[in-house]
Subunit: 417 residues, 2 copies
Amino acid sequence: MAATVANQVGTREKLLRARGAASKLAQLSTAEKNALLLSIADAIEHRADSILAANCEDVGSSGLEGAMRDRLLLTRPRIQEMAQGVRDVAALPDPIGETLAEWTRPNGLKIRKVRVPLGVVGIIYESRPNVTVDTAVLALKTGNAIVLRGGKEAARSNQELVKIIAGVTGIPEGAIELLDSSTRDSVQELIKARGLVDVIIPRGGAGLIAFVTENSSVPVIETGAGNCHIFVDESADFDMADRIVINAKTQRPSVCNAAEKLLVHENIAGEYVPRIVQKLIDAGVEVRGDDRACRLANNAEIEPASEPDWGEEYLRLCMAVRVVANVNEAIAHINRYSTKHSDSIVTRNESNARQFLRAVDSAAVYWNASTRFTDGAEFGFGAEMGISTQKLHCRGPFALAELTSSKYEIIGSGQIR
Amino acid sequence: MAATVANQVGTREKLLRARGAASKLAQLSTAEKNALLLSIADAIEHRADSILAANCEDVGSSGLEGAMRDRLLLTRPRIQEMAQGVRDVAALPDPIGETLAEWTRPNGLKIRKVRVPLGVVGIIYESRPNVTVDTAVLALKTGNAIVLRGGKEAARSNQELVKIIAGVTGIPEGAIELLDSSTRDSVQELIKARGLVDVIIPRGGAGLIAFVTENSSVPVIETGAGNCHIFVDESADFDMADRIVINAKTQRPSVCNAAEKLLVHENIAGEYVPRIVQKLIDAGVEVRGDDRACRLANNAEIEPASEPDWGEEYLRLCMAVRVVANVNEAIAHINRYSTKHSDSIVTRNESNARQFLRAVDSAAVYWNASTRFTDGAEFGFGAEMGISTQKLHCRGPFALAELTSSKYEIIGSGQIR
């Protein structure tokens, strides 16, 4: 079987092939890359049946149900969407080759800073097979080779998708490599391959991300964990606050930009806490609170929050409420407990809003909007590789430009020091 | 003694103080930061005697001689230079607060990407005490707290310098912290302090850098190692090639942008190899060569190079010479063996030069110039934190702008998804 044969090639050999492909990919023109992307989109459509068959095996043997099964499941419309996503990426501007800066030194040296591919990008992810296609095409668009280590539940789907993409005429050998998902050894080899791999992007749960960031010797872009806050200030429009809190908490509770914590200014807490707690409960949310919030909401079903609650990313319909003295206390609480992802203030007070925007040390800080907008598509990037919660290289939603590095090309006429 | 007391404060406590200082530093205005920098410059000048006394103890007890002693040694002119360096940084533009991008989404959300400090920057370095001042002021200028772990030979000099800087009125407590240099424990704690420290920059020898990059769970900017190449193409102006090779090899052989390897096009090797080998030997350089270079230079004292030579950074007056078939073979050799730092082609052939500039995967690629120009000051940056040889975050010489991150400030009017 093809799958078995693929797995017999060791991780290191795949990384070496990717390294070799990287220098070829870096030299492709924009037109060449876009033509390959369009061929990939066509191939995905033409091979929908084989993708569905592989996925059906994965879903059948996974034993997953509900939301987890749904994440793994591919359907004809989803494959169609995948192919369209590839065409969308083909239509985006190519960042490679862009002149980022250019100047001439007094000694006559002409210095040009130019955008180049990173080289080899490693992705470690969990069950969703669409990540396989999304990340492969973003890598190809930016002239990078990609090494994928997906989840074992999606092994057959991923193998089929990678076979289709790698089989497109003109794709250099090694441009897309899929590692063995049946063992953690391949993760270990990937994250220790400093020199062969230029960056690792883990996409998945907190456990996966912590493991990779703690153990990788390859530079990592940390993505994802979001313990996001909404602070309802004294002067907030309560109706707006309701809409934002309910949306940020309930519209899609399993994602990183969903809100987990609600801070309420003490001067309005007497009125606003019981009101919002009831609305949250009506929306099916389990509510926890600090002492004051619990007292104020004593008629509603609210549980006392414990210290670990303030740092936890629930990723489900649960929210903890805390009463704070003012915007300063809200900022201090957020900077202490948040994962530096997305936090929002609801207020009519511009001065408080400006202070909050400036002082909250998070990737995305909002004034009068839901935290749910921290997303490549919502930001208008046309694609998304992830949401960085670290400060190095990129922060917040990132896409094509962040899959690049730069180099200096310097032209002289014999200059020496 | 103050030094002993300082060391009694544990590493973790110092990191927590730095974390606390970071949020204060991030809020300082440009004028406030520049005023602090000018006060630091004055304090360094006024306290020259105590700096010299501390340094004298360090030099006396180090047992170092020659170049190593010179790296550790401070003199009155060097302290004056240090103070001037601080004033130069005060005069540079402040990158913090700069709007990097700004746009409005169709739903009315106003998104602004703004430059912010990284937070807490950790520096691990070796003997030169001027690094203490240089890095501390670059960090202050960019609103970052800094945690320094210097070499033990310079312990007293570093303690005195940090005491002077931290003692300037207005510097937040924790803005500059010096870790215990008498044990490696402080390095271990620093590189594992993910969440408290935002980036580690190792500055020093290859062993130090490898240790930090292999073991740090905090994101690292890898600096320094330079196995730099010069390729003398068929059409090179021999006089220019001589000047560039001799300069790049001998002007300061101990630094990372010095050339270590010379590649010569086979069509000119018969004439050029004996010529340049003789010049290198005359300049005191130990020369090694591949079989062809050795045969061509048979009258000169040249030793056969072995495989490890091609990957080695000599950092001394030694150079290995190899004959290559053409520009493609030169590029392939460089991309295989170089540390992706700085590489140069000497040629009159523009097409070969363009190909070399594009295809050599290094931070700085030169046409007809010495590799010795890869340097913050030579690039006109007015300051330098290091030279990055990784591709994430920054590549090549980096200074103020690279000590920053970004955040998104998003202003809405109640938008929800």
